[in-house]
């Protein structure tokens, strides 16, 4: 919970991680990739305020206590959503798997939501695993990396028939929030891996599912915006936008926020810190304080008010994940948050499967 000027903000961190990228977890023979990957993440941290930078050793492997302090104690977060990233070809136990997240999270009931993952190239076995994960971890969302290299396959698209089988399974299992990584990627090498047109089609065909485009398609924000404006069930995940631009490039942050507010709208934007790339504390404080600068080049962008910020900081995500938000954090005038695509009553949030 964050309070500023008498206003209370319920904070849902929609995108965060608990990884181990230390040398003890590097796959022999792939050390240079494991090392390069975490150094690349570490460079992103360099875009945050200098006082929040970590040493590479700390960044490679932080403890459960570090996370609880950074995210909840200091970082104002009420509920955090784990987005797993496997990368098992480089990291022996994976970079941050659903299992690793849940092992930690189950000691802190009610604090975490465990999203899972799938890859349509895993066939029937993958669907079975998805079922097991949902049963075990209570997952209501998943994180997908469609550009991932897999045994000679150069990535996949949400529109592949195999992916549709998984999306159908998600629908059946109540995994209704599909977080799609559309941001910096490596593979497939000869294609534009940021193409978002597959999300467009899948969102049209699966109206009961919500598609959260993580990193707003950076570096192709325009493609994402033109698509999201046409699809009511497509959302903008702000991880990287706030962390990567608000401090380092405030002018571009204002413009990108302006574009997102214009095309996507405040009801469909979700805060995510991308911890441990960036700590939530400075992002939450900075975002709540942020105003569109009074600049002639920014006059045609929509403005945000306190209600807009409450939605983006937590109320929109709470709606997608059925997180019960106490009355004191709700909008006073009853302004609806994210669009009402989700039927049913919100249930008391608990880390199910714990």
């Amino acid at each position: 919970m964050y309070e500023k000027d008498g206003e209370k903000y319920f904070v849902v961190d929609g995108h965060m991680h608990y990884w181990n990228a230390a040398p003890d977890n590097w796959v022999p023979g792939a050390e240079q990739y494991a090392k390069g990957w975490i150094e690349c993440f570490h460079a992103y941290q360099g875009l945050g305020p200098p006082a929040t930078h970590w040493t590479i050793e700390h960044f490679q492997k932080y403890s459960e206590e570090d996370l609880m302090k950074d995210v909840f104690e200091d970082g104002y977060v009420d509920v955090a959503i784990f987005q797993p990233t496997y990368l098992k070809e480089w990291y022996k136990e994976g970079f941050n798997t659903t299992e690793r997240n849940a092992l930690m999270g189950e000691k802190h009931p009610g604090k975490f939501i465990y999203n899972t993952r799938w890859d349509p190239r895993d066939g029937d076995a993958g669907i079975e695993q998805l079922r097991k994960n949902v049963e075990r971890f209570g997952s209501k969302g998943c994180k997908l990396y469609s550009a991932e290299w897999n045994a000679g396959s150069r990535g996949w698209k949400l529109t592949d028939p195999a992916a549709y089988r998984y999306l159908e399974a998600c629908q059946e299992l109540g995994v209704k929030n599909i977080h799609v990584h559309k941001g910096p990627t490596i593979w497939p090498l000869d294609k534009d891996a940021f193409d978002v047109s597959d999300v467009d089609h899948a969102a049209t065909d699966f109206q009961d599912l919500n598609f959260i485009v993580e990193h707003v398609g950076l570096p192709r924000i325009e493609d994402f915006c033109f698509m999201a404006t046409q699809e009511p069930n497509v959302y903008a995940g702000l991880a990287v936008v706030i962390g990567g631009l608000m401090h380092a490039r405030p002018k571009f942050f204002a413009k990108v926020m302006g574009e997102l507010l214009f095309w996507v709208g405040e009801d469909k934007m979700l805060f995510g810190s991308d911890y441990a790339i960036w700590e939530p504390k400075w992002q939450v404080e900075g975002f709540v304080d942020w105003e569109m600068p009074d600049d002639p080049s920014l006059t045609d962008y929509p403005r945000m008010n306190t209600a807009s910020k409450k939605k983006i900081m937590g109320l929109n995500a709470a709606k997608l994940y059925d997180i019960k938000v106490p009355d004191e954090y709700q909008l006073k005038d009853g302004t609806p948050g994210a669009h009402e695509v989700l039927g049913g009553q919100p249930e008391e949030h608990a880390a199910s499967g714990a």
Partner: protein
Amino acid sequence: MTNPVTAGSPSAPPGEAPPGAARVLAALDAVRDPELDEPITSLGFVSSCTVSADGDAQVRLRLPTYFCAPNFAFLMVADAYDAVSALPGVRATEVVLEDHFASDAINGGVAARAGFARSFDGEAVGELHELRADFLRKAVMAGTDLVCRPLAAAGVEPPALAALTLGQAPPSPALERLRQRRAELGLPAGDDAPLLIDPATGAALGDDAVPLHLRRAHTTRVSIEANAGICRGMLRHRYGTSGLGEEEQ
């Protein structure tokens, strides 16, 4: 580039004096990051540039991260090779991409003139022309905003913008750049060509389509500039030094 002088080739005219490093660096100004539509020099990607007394040029490039997209990296290394090796007096050219997960494949592939697909045997099936064209179209959209926003701010209404030709628009570096990008794509770029066109087809826009077109052009520019901002920040974090010809933004 036509007829590039390849490594060790004897085709450099005898007696031609080798260019200075400054001349080589100037040639690299013409090499752009296809994604950011900016010269690799001003982005800070050139870490060193030398020419021996015999005309052997060596250029070293660096990128913001170890995992920057290898397709764009390949294009930059290949374009740098072409730009430098075409200079009179250059006997041999070596372009080295430093500190990148695919350095070996890219450096070796470019040196052997192998093309992208062969350099990444089994990992890529196509060359990069379509990717480059996609990003040139984005550059055309962003460039349209760069040219049109000052006009709009000066009171030129959308229908009047749509009626302008390139020859009628006030001359500026931005307009020149827009023309060049359009010409590279084979789109109309002469004085009589409309200022506003669909970058996919080259067709003029109807009045109804103009406001949305301009809005999209602006979003495209914001996207590219924000991306360049992130890349600059990460490059600075990674190296802490300026590249040759780097311009602060």
